[in-house]
Symmetry: C2
Subunit: 271 residues, 2 copies
Amino acid sequence: VTIIAACQLAPTVGDVAGNRVRADAAVRAAAGRGADIVVLPELVDSGYVFNDRSEALGWAQPAASSLTLRGWSEAAAELDVIVIGGWCELRASDTLCNSAAIVDRTGVRALYRKAHLWDREKLVFTPGDEAPPIVDTPAGRVAVCICYDLEFPEWAALAAHAGADLIAAPVNWPLLPRPASERPAEMIKAQAAAAVNGIFVAVADRCGVERGVDWIGGTVIIGPSGYPLAGPVLADHTATLIAEVDLKQARDKRVGDRNHLVDDRRPELYR
Amino acid sequence: VTIIAACQLAPTVGDVAGNRVRADAAVRAAAGRGADIVVLPELVDSGYVFNDRSEALGWAQPAASSLTLRGWSEAAAELDVIVIGGWCELRASDTLCNSAAIVDRTGVRALYRKAHLWDREKLVFTPGDEAPPIVDTPAGRVAVCICYDLEFPEWAALAAHAGADLIAAPVNWPLLPRPASERPAEMIKAQAAAAVNGIFVAVADRCGVERGVDWIGGTVIIGPSGYPLAGPVLADHTATLIAEVDLKQARDKRVGDRNHLVDDRRPELYR
């Protein structure tokens, strides 16, 4: 079995050093609870609510010299965990990306740049143009995408069809109005992405108020049937959810005796 | 405004005449409550749990002479409503389809044959190979798909991208195990289909026990944000849900100031 941890944290915009310390503490605590895979929120080093692009530029680093990635690599090696989290990347001298990384004991295995940008992110970041990367690990095949990406069913399908067992999703879900007692639509879409594709989805959301913006605090670990295995938190506090899973269950796409999530698709009709 | 009614009924397998009477009564009652559009369950004339294919063959009729379609057409003309429901179609001398129709005061406007077959339906029916039809009505553009179809995100997207404001979904959702207090995954996928595409989705499910099979009773009318506007029923009794909507809201795909459900898609990356 594999133990997945999804950590809900409260980064402080611009307190990059403090944010790294808090994320590192969360990774270590999760490892202490046996985690094999630890998922952290989106932009967990920089925070999210930038006043302007130049602020973000001041807090971003290139992958090769990122202290965030170095810290995750050191923790991954020391603790033998896989860390997946979001960070603020300086991709070229003046290009910023809302990025994520999959890091294991050997170092950075994959980098990903958010391809679907939300709201003011469009003023700050350059969207990525590559599909979610998939890293083959002893536990299973792990993909990553970021927040709003997960609201485009094609994106999760791309990863699933390419063999992903788990999509780890660093998110910062802003709190929007919704009917009382309803789960947020973002979570519904994440559950549907899991169920439609028969994969695990681990969402690490943030909490805390940042420059007046509130968050859903919707950290959740979802199984291949679309139902939560842990969480959702749905509260404004830090938390680490733990789920013990067999990621390879995601490779059996049969549904009962006569149905199959992939074979029942009719892609020739979907054009 | 447009008033949508979604009717949860309990057909009895093989009691085709009685099923037609019950569906007709539901349409008339909904019209009495002001409904402009009435959605009925899947295979509402034949029932669902066939012992074998020959049974279904005995209860199916061709579209041209279907008493089910004739009854809906008469009711639609008399009451000036749009009726969308599922029925058992004899398509050629030996071809059965799990079909639906969109009927208005002028008669049958569109026929649809379920393209994704569930479980033992594969032993009985021939799948359709055409996209959900869309009928332009004074209330808005109405599409139809059937039950398991709705679990393939591409299918709702096809209809939405072709201009549908509403997907009417006759379903027979069998009751499968799920965690206590969780909505069924079928409903989660229907909510996601609405939210991802910014369209209305009206699901008419069945109830009653048929040859030992139980049903979700999950009739629900969902708005373009993915949240229920009426229901879900989630109980084993007949019911008619009513929602007063402006279907043309579905044509505004903007999300806040900087996002757009269609323009934010990156189809060139989805291959």
